[in-house]
């Protein structure tokens, strides 16, 4: 399983302080630090690789302009960037856009596994996950992506999705529970063993 290394908050603040003064290297460092999670987030939502690339770049362009206007966040940079990405996606594809199936099909298993049997099993599990996730409501897909995939906190997820923390907590529960039920139903219909 891939383990995302969360940005160090202290380093973030120092880099952010430098970036606010127009330090190009600091801004580029932030760009590289957050490009991957933002791209992954956008790519899952919009499907098209080029559109995801453009959206991700636009997120950072807005970040730079916000730094200039001093409207950029002084803390929780990660939450702020994800919120901008989400708003851009909504502007382009609407709020109710579901995860495109073809996008999900492009997911790859990150685990490096040499055992062919284990590889085959993982491949089946990933396929199940893709199909199960695509059956969730868009808000449920989003909360799972933010909480499990991007490993954002409940508070950050709430800020990004513009909801109360308790609402996110309940949404998260429904999403996980629904996903479990879908997987269980799949097991009944297509037993893997």
């Amino acid at each position: 399983m891939i383990v995302l290394v969360l940005p160090d908050i202290t380093t973030d603040e120092e880099t952010l302080a430098r970036a606010r003064t127009g330090d190009e290297e600091a801004i580029v460092a932030i760009y590289h630090r957050y490009y991957d999670p933002i791209y992954q987030f956008c790519r899952l939502r919009v499907g098209d690789p080029l559109a995801a690339q453009d959206l991700t770049s636009e997120v950072f362009v807005r970040f730079i302009k916000a730094m200039k206007r001093e409207t950029a966040p002084r803390t929780s940079l990660r939450g702020w960037i994800f919120r901008v990405a989400r708003n851009l996606i909504y502007d382009h594809y609407g709020r109710e856009a579901e995860l495109p199936i073809d996008t999900i099909d492009q997911w790859l298993s990150s685990d490096i596994e040499t055992d062919p049997e284990v590889q085959a099993l993982q491949s089946i599990q990933v396929e199940r996950a893709r199909r199960a996730i695509s059956m969730l409501a868009p808000s449920q897909q989003e909360v799972l992506l933010l909480r499990f995939d991007q490993q954002l906190s409940l508070q950050e997820t709430a800020e990004i999705m513009g909801k109360q923390v308790n609402a996110i907590k309940a949404l998260q529960f429904r999403a996980v529970n629904t996903l479990r039920q879908i997987l269980r139903d799949m097991d009944v219909e297509e037993p893997t063993s």
Binding site: V28, Y39, P49, F60, V126, I133, F173
Partner: protein
């Protein structure tokens, strides 16, 4: 479905702990009551992080976008620096212009202030000796006094002035020069002060009364080659002029004539033990023997 709040909370805590690196087994063990429900939910959720877009695709996209980011940084912050520089420049220019206008207005107000030059209208006097009457005399107080005792002769085209002692010399005005000093030479209607020749009007009634070493204050107009006096004030002696006659207060042996007695308070105070009662206008001694605070010596 009825969901217990503590199950929802337990799921939330478990997700956080798993995100921090703990295993499903470990976190579920802390919630034995909900273990059968939590385990499949967490395992379902953990299917997501296993699925990622290829790192090389993401890395290539990041590299392609970096140039745009650097260009945006340069454009955004370079433009901002220019605006800041322009803003500061405008601020300084504005401050300079404001200062210039302020100084200009202040100078104009000073220039516009009426100079204490006597006109043909008799000036008021505070002293009872204010024979600022129509008596055709002109008096020069030895020093500036707070009670101008100046009268005028209607025939004079230029009148002397008396400045209150407390006043500082007149500020210079464009084309106007004030010279004060001892008279070192008299040549007709030209007197010399500090090696500067000053031309007085030939019919100036004070001209005959001016003597060498008199301290004279002259306000003059600058001409191209000469200095012409506009107003004359004798500082160290009181001079009273009546027609062709004049009387100076600096000689105790020369008492003031009748027409000068009203202006001779200082002379009486200095040269006589007691001033004649009739020397005061109206025959009253007001006690203001010497209203000026000068040094009549």
């Amino acid at each position: 479905m009825i969901v217990r709040d503590d199950l929802v909370d337990a799921l939330e805590i478990c997700i956080d702990r798993i995100n921090q690196g703990e295993s499903v087994q470990t976190v579920v063990a802390d919630y034995p009551v909900f273990a059968k429900q939590l385990r499949p939910m967490l395992e379902a959720g953990l299917l997501l992080p296993r699925s990622r877009f290829p790192a090389d695709v993401v890395s290539a996209a990041a590299t392609q976008g970096e140039a745009r980011i650097r260009a945006t940084v340069s454009d955004t912050f370079a433009a901002g620096t220019n605006w800041l520089a322009w803003g500061l420049a405008l601020l300084f220019i504005g401050a300079g212009v404001s200062l210039f206008i302020f100084i200009l207005i202040s100078n104009q107000q000073q220039s516009a202030a009426p100079p204490p030059v006597l006109t043909n209208t008799p000036t008021l006097t505070l002293a009872p000796t204010a024979s600022a009457t129509l008596s055709p005399t002109a008096t020069y107080s030895p020093t500036a006094t707070s009670t101008p005792t100046v009268t005028q002769t209607p025939t004079q085209s230029r009148l002397p002035q008396v400045l209150p002692a407390s006043e500082t010399p007149l500020p210079s005005r464009p084309g106007l020069t004030i010279i004060e000093g001892p008279v070192s030479q008299i040549n007709g209607n030209v007197i010399t002060i500090f090696d500067r020749e000053i031309t007085l009007a030939e019919d100036d009634p004070l001209l005959p009364a001016i003597q060498l070493q008199d301290i004279v204050r002259i306000e003059s107009a600058n001409k191209s080659d000469t200095i012409e006096a506009i107003s004359i004030t004798l500082i160290n002696v009181t001079v009273v002029v009546s027609g062709d006659q004049f009387w100076r207060s600096d000689n105790c042996n020369v008492p003031p004539p009748v027409w000068a007695q009203s202006q001779a308070n200082a002379w009486y105070a200095r040269c006589t033990p007691q001033r004649p009662a009739d020397a005061q206008p109206g025959g009253r001694n007001t006690g203001h023997d010497d209203d000026d605070d000068d040094d009549d010596d």
